[in-house]
Symmetry: C2
Subunit: 239 residues, 2 copies
């Protein structure tokens, strides 16, 4: 498989502009491309497809890359089939996945990615690149007929991964507890991707990028921390 | 409708034991009853039905009320139909709702509640008393064929409601933002029930109990704070 993926935890880190912290990695992913198809389905804060696409366009135009929103096409499948690259932005993961199915984009995206089309995601767009959306942080504000996602990689991702807050008096579950519960019902690995971190996948090779470590959860094992540069190839062999 | 409900945000507040902060309200709900049927389906932390029931039993036995777990019966529907009162404990809301449907308990619970059987819930058990589970904080670790819940009340509940953390550098959505997104797709009111708060419903009357205010979200309106004793009857007229 000639996958070429950039899976970003968050579009915006504290104190930096939209996609700013990932500029180098985004430009490297899209080297030689002049356009990207943006999928605005996740609608963060409920904004319109048009407004969300304008936001993405503003960032990419600085880098000489033009952006079209998939909603601008009569035939979204054709849009994906003809795209040079695809970017799925963050927002609500349930709304996103539901719309990917409703627009019949799951298979076309899988096929194009398999043949090497660059794919990038932020937050919900990174979550749906995994096996299922079962490790999203989002509220289930709309129903999705299945939680099976794009499965561009054979594991799950928890974007915006958050460490337990020391001294917290809140009784809601920590992120780590939630992922442990996930592993009572599911076997695939989960990558807790902190804000500022990215996964770069080329073919069967995977690399952690950004300044932080990532927390990786395997069923029935203690969570492990991996630094950028560490060998995390086992993730690509998950089933 | 002769509803008799106690909907508790969390079983355990910081620094108190299991159900301790709600003891007075639980005993008042169950006045004159000698047993309660416990539904342990939400399995917090993945614990077994047996262990979870033992935990509930320990609390109720101090108050002279016996507890049986619904999993101890061959026929869970019959168990609900013959129960003096039902308590659904917290854990994962998706796991809970899926099991309520799988065990065909939705309708029997609705019918018994309608006829006045006392119902209490904590956390996920409070969430499923609402219209849908669309405002749960939990991870979707298993799929549910619908998010429609028990609809014992005509609004949604967000248990463990959390105010934005001042000075936080985390870019994930606040609870308030998530609920605003919910209202882009759904019209029913949402009650943000802080840890320590409870809703007491008798017939068509509703009351906020506990030491804190609750944050109530109506579609297209600014969130509002209500104190215990305030008139929140409009919640029962939602559709």
């Amino acid at each position: 498989m000639s996958r070429n993926l950039l899976l970003i935890s968050t579009s915006t880190t504290h104190g930096t502009g939209y996609l700013e912290h990932a500029e180098q990695e985004v430009r490297s992913l899209l080297e030689g491309k002049s356009s990207v198809l943006f999928i605005p389905y996740a609608r963060p804060g409920g904004i319109s497809h048009k407004d969300y696409t304008a936001k993405a366009r503003e960032a990419f135009e600085q880098w000489g890359i033009s952006v079209t929103g998939v909603h601008e096409y009569d035939d979204p499948v054709k849009a994906v089939n003809e795209a040079e690259a695809v970017f799925i932005g963050g927002g609500n993961t349930f709304v996103l996945l539901r719309n990917l199915y409703a627009s019949k984009l799951i298979k076309p995206l899988q096929e194009r990615v398999q043949k090497g089309m660059p794919y990038m995601g932020t937050s919900a767009g990174t979550n749906v690149a995994g096996k299922t959306i079962g490790t999203t942080n989002d509220m289930p504000i709309v129903h999705a007929k299945t939680f099976d996602a794009l499965q561009l990689v054979p594991f799950n991702i928890n974007p915006h991964y958050l460490d337990p807050i020391e001294g917290s008096t809140h009784m809601g579950e920590t992120r780590e507890t939630r992922i442990a519960e996930f592993h009572h019902h599911n076997r695939q690995p989960v990558v807790g991707l902190r804000e500022g971190s990215m996964l770069r996948v080329k073919g069967d090779k995977i690399e952690l990028l950004g300044p932080l470590t990532a927390r990786i959860f395997l069923q029935s094992q203690k969570p492990m921390e991996f630094k950028p540069g560490d060998d995390i190839a086992f993730l690509m062999e998950a089933y």
